[in-house]
Every structure is written in structure tokens, then in C-alpha cells.
Amino acid sequence: MSSLEELKSIIQAKFGLEPAAIDEHASIREQGLDSLALAELLFEIEDRLHIDLPNDDPNIDTLTQLAALVDRVRAEKAASSA
């Protein structure tokens, strides 16, 4: 299961951006979320989904990539607690 839709709904609740207005394959930074907003978004994702994201992953640029990272972290968490 992809976390993409959950991330979109977190972005909507936190920043007021409509899910339909977000291009998940384009740079998040170029869609109005500057470095401060992005830091807050990662914190919010961790809070809501009860996960720990790696601190500095320079490869994350699009929402699709972020969702893939969240999926991986969730899968690892599920595997380690299984």
C-alpha cells in the first residue's frame, strides 16, 4: 500500500494545499513548500504515522519519492515488530 494519499491529506490539513493541486512527480520545493515547511512536514508525518524518518536523505525531491521512503520505513517497522 502506498502512503501517497495519506501524505497528500497531511499536506492538505497542515498547509491547506488541495490534493488535486499537488504534482506528486514534481519537486515538492517548487510547489510552495520551502525548506522550513518541508522540515515541519517531515515532523508531522513522523507524528501522525508513528515512524522515524532518516534525518537527511538528499534524494527526496518529489512526493512520490517521499511516499516510497515512508512505505519502506513502515515496512521495516512492521518486519522488526513481527
Binding site: F15, G16, L36, A37, A39, F43, D47
Partner: protein, 404 residues
């Protein structure tokens, strides 16, 4: 040397977001003080603002912006609009922002302590949210100001000092326009506990919370906390006239000094020197000044010392000096109070009407002054007025305004 004139006023105050409506409420003696934070162990009264951040920020913009900065952006924008400067002139290096702030983002800091203690996790934007110069930076970003953007943290004198320094920058030719004022928003549980522990807050009587603060009254017992932001647009007189703006008043002089005696105990000699210094710089003699918006926090010791300082500085002219502390009605806005009271003083001068020193049923003979005890007082001959701010840390700042 360019004269510094006032061309715009903006407030987010316990009496609303219209400076002139706020002044009318004060003229009628309406108190904005009421019970707050009912879950606190001891009763709390304060004068807080009704403010909807969505009127000024999108959700995305609000990210990491503490209430203290939100109030500042709104009040500064209202002041610029009032001055006819919603669009700044092209050379924004000739514009400065001068902001007084005592504490910075109290709510963000408190939220961080709470979440840190609970979960060990803290919002990553806590530092940019609580840093005391955030309000000034947000005002600058909102309006694209590229000149000096400065913050003065001088406790209760913060925004009076900001105004004094802004006027100096105008007189020195450093800027043509100064967006000057202050913001404070610290009515949050932990900070309120700290103020209560210091034993300087008024003890409210149940059912009479609005009248808790009673400056110069024999039964006064402390101040009430307020929150809000107030900004004045100061402008070089020639610059204002050239664009057809009508000055509301001139900030003709100021004086800032320090008692250097005690961190919290006021000192009459230092206050009197600041009063004399402001008059001297403004070219005024004591008998020229018809009104003093007093610091008047309604502490037992503070009001006596302030009255003594006024008598020392004004001599026999103190008999004709009308005095009121409007803190009885809007509370003590700490870092924003000097600017809010400057707005009140400018409107008093422009309209030649004096707001009352409310809740003073029995004036204390130990602080004998010619108090404005009735609402809606007319002062037809008024030519000049002073506004005093005396801070923890010993800094005294007096602003002297004259009619434009």
C-alpha cells in the same frame, strides 16, 4: 535635520484592530480585561486580542510563525495602509522596521517545552518561531523592506525605545520611512505562572475582573497582563508632505537612560531625567506639555515613584499636567505597551481629547497628580504630550509628541 512625523497608526489590541475605535473605547472607559486561562491553579485576568490568523496568512504562510509575529504583521500592515503606504516607494532601502519585543514567541517556546517533556520531540520550527527578532523579520518580509530591520528587547520600554530609535534614524537621514512599534503575546500558562510568582499582578475581585488594575488608586495592587501589537509609521516630514500625506503629530523628542540601581525597583531620579531629556530634545518647557500618558502600572511602589518623578521634572507646571494611565483598560502589553500608548497619545493630541485614568476611585495622596478621572475629557488647548515607559532593567524611555 528632518523632523519625524507620524503618518499612520495600526493596532491589534484588546480593544480591536482599528486604532481610532480603540481610542474611542478608551475614551469611554471600556475595560478589555477579563478572566482568562480558567484551568490555571490561581485565577488569571488579562486583556487579550480577538485575532483570526486566517485574515492575514494562508496555512502554508503560518508555518513556524508565532502569534507574536502574526500580531506584528497585521498591526504593521494596518499602519502602512493608514499612512497611504500599502505600496511602499520604490527604494525600499530607505525604509526601516523598528520593533520592540520583550519575550519573542512565548507560545512556541511553551509548546516546545510541553511536547519535549511529553515525547522528547519538538517542532523543528521552534527556534525561528520564538526568536525575539522574528516579528520584525516577518514585517520586513511582508512588505519587502530592505533598510535596517531591528529589534529592541528592553522589557516594558521595548517599543518606546524602538520608536525613539526610529525617529533618530529619520532625523539622521538614514531612512525616509520607519515602520516602528512593538508586539507581545505571552499570555500562556507557564509565562503567566512566572508573572504570578513575581507578585506584581493585580489580585482580581470575583465579579469585578475588568476593574482589577487601578493605577494611582490608594487600593491598587498590581498590573494585568495584556497582549497585542501597535505600529506607527514615522516619516521624514518633507517626504510625507511631498507625497501629500497629512501628519497626525510629530515625534519631536525622546530620551532613553538607565537607573543602574536595581533590576526591578523604579527610580525617580532616572525617570525625571528621562522626562527632562525628552522635553529638552523636543524644545519644550514643562508648561507646554498638557498631557502625560503615564507608565502607571498600578504597582504599590511604581506609581509613587512615577508621581515623584513627574513632580521633579515638571516643577510647578505639574499642577496643569493632565495624567492618565490607560493600562487600567488595555492591560500592560510589556514589549508592545510603549507603542500602543504612543498611538493613544498621538490620537489624544490630534483630537485634543484625553482618555481617563480608569478605576481610580480614591486617588492615593502619595502619588498626587492631576489625573484625568472622568471619561471623554476635552483638552482644547493641548499642544504637546509625553508618553512614559519605565522598564525592568532600569531603562527609562520618554517620548514627546507635538501637534503637527
Amino acid at each position: 535635520m528632518a523632523a519625524a512625523v507620524v503618518t499612520g497608526l495600526g493596532v491589534v489590541s484588546p480593544h480591536g484592530q482599528d486604532a481610532r475605535a480603540m481610542f474611542e473605547a478608551l475614551m469611554q472607559g471600556h475595560s478589555a480585561v477579563r478572566p482568562v486561562l480558567p484551568e490555571q491553579p490561581k485565577p488569571v485576568v488579562a486583556a487579550t486580542c480577538e485575532f483570526n490568523p486566517a485574515d492575514w496568512f494562508t496555512l502554508l504562510q503560518l508555518n513556524g510563525v508565532d502569534r507574536v509575529s502574526q500580531l506584528a504583521v497585521a498591526a504593521a500592515s494596518l499602519a502602512l495602509k493608514d499612512a497611504g503606504l500599502a505600496e511602499l516607494p520604490q527604494d525600499t532601502t530607505r525604509v526601516g522596521v523598528y520593533v520592540g519585543c520583550g519575550m519573542g514567541g512565548a507560545a512556541s517556546l511553551e509548546a516546545a517545552y510541553a511536547s519535549g517533556a511529553r515525547s522528547g520531540r519538538v517542532s523543528p520550527l521552534t527556534v525561528p518561531a520564538f526568536m525575539p527578532n522574528a516579528p520584525a523579520a516577518h514585517v520586513a518580509m511582508r512588505h519587502g523592506v530592505h533598510g535596517p530591520v531591528l529589534t529592541y528587547s528592553v522589557a516594558c520600554a521595548s517599543s518606546a525605545v524602538a520608536l525613539a530609535e526610529a525617529a533618530k534614524a529619520i532625523r539622521a537621514g538614514e531612512v525616509d520611512i520607519a515602520i516602528a512599534g512593538g508586539s507581545e503575546a505571552l499570555v500562556v500558562p507557564g509565562v503567566v505562572l512566572a508573572w504570578q510568582a513575581l507578585m506584581t499582578l493585580a489580585a482580581p475581585q470575583p465579579g469585578h475582573e475588568a476593574r482589577a488594575c487601578r493605577p494611582f488608586d490608594v487600593n491598587r495592587n498590581g498590573f494585568v497582563l495584556g497582549e497585542g501589537a501597535a505600529f506607527l509609521v514615522l516619516e521624514a516630514e518633507g517626504h510625507a508632505r511631498a507625497r501629500g500625506a497629512t501628519p497626525l503629530a510629530a515625534l519631536a523628542g525622546s530620551a532613553t537612560n538607565c537607573d543602574a540601581t536595581h533590576l526591578t525597583k523604579p527610580d525617580a531620579a532616572g525617570q525625571a531625567a528621562a522626562l527632562r531629556g525628552a522635553l529638552r530634545q523636543a524644545g519644550l518647557s514643562p508648561s507646554d506639555v498638557g498631557y502625560c500618558n503615564a507608565h502607571g502600572t498600578a504597582t504599590k511602589a511604581g506609581d509613587v515613584v512615577e508621581a515623584q518623578a513627574l513632580r521633579e521634572a515638571f516643577g510647578t507646571a505639574v499642577a496643569d499636567l493632565r495624567v492618565s494611565s490607560t493600562k487600567a483598560l488595555h492591560g500592560h502589553l510589556l514589549g508592545a505597551t510603549g507603542a500602543l500608548e504612543a498611538v493613544v497619545t498621538v490620537l489624544a493630541l490630534a483630537g485634543r481629547r484625553l482618555p481617563p485614568n480608569a478605576h481610580c476611585e480614591q486617588p492615593d495622596s502619595q502619588c498626587a497628580l492631576n489625573l484625568v478621572l472622568q471619561p471623554n475629557h476635552a483638552a482644547p488647548g493641548l499642544q504637546a504630550a509625553v508618553s512614559s515607559s519605565f522598564a525592568f532593567g532600569g531603562t527609562n524611555c520618554v517620548l514627546a509628541f507635538t501637534r503637527a
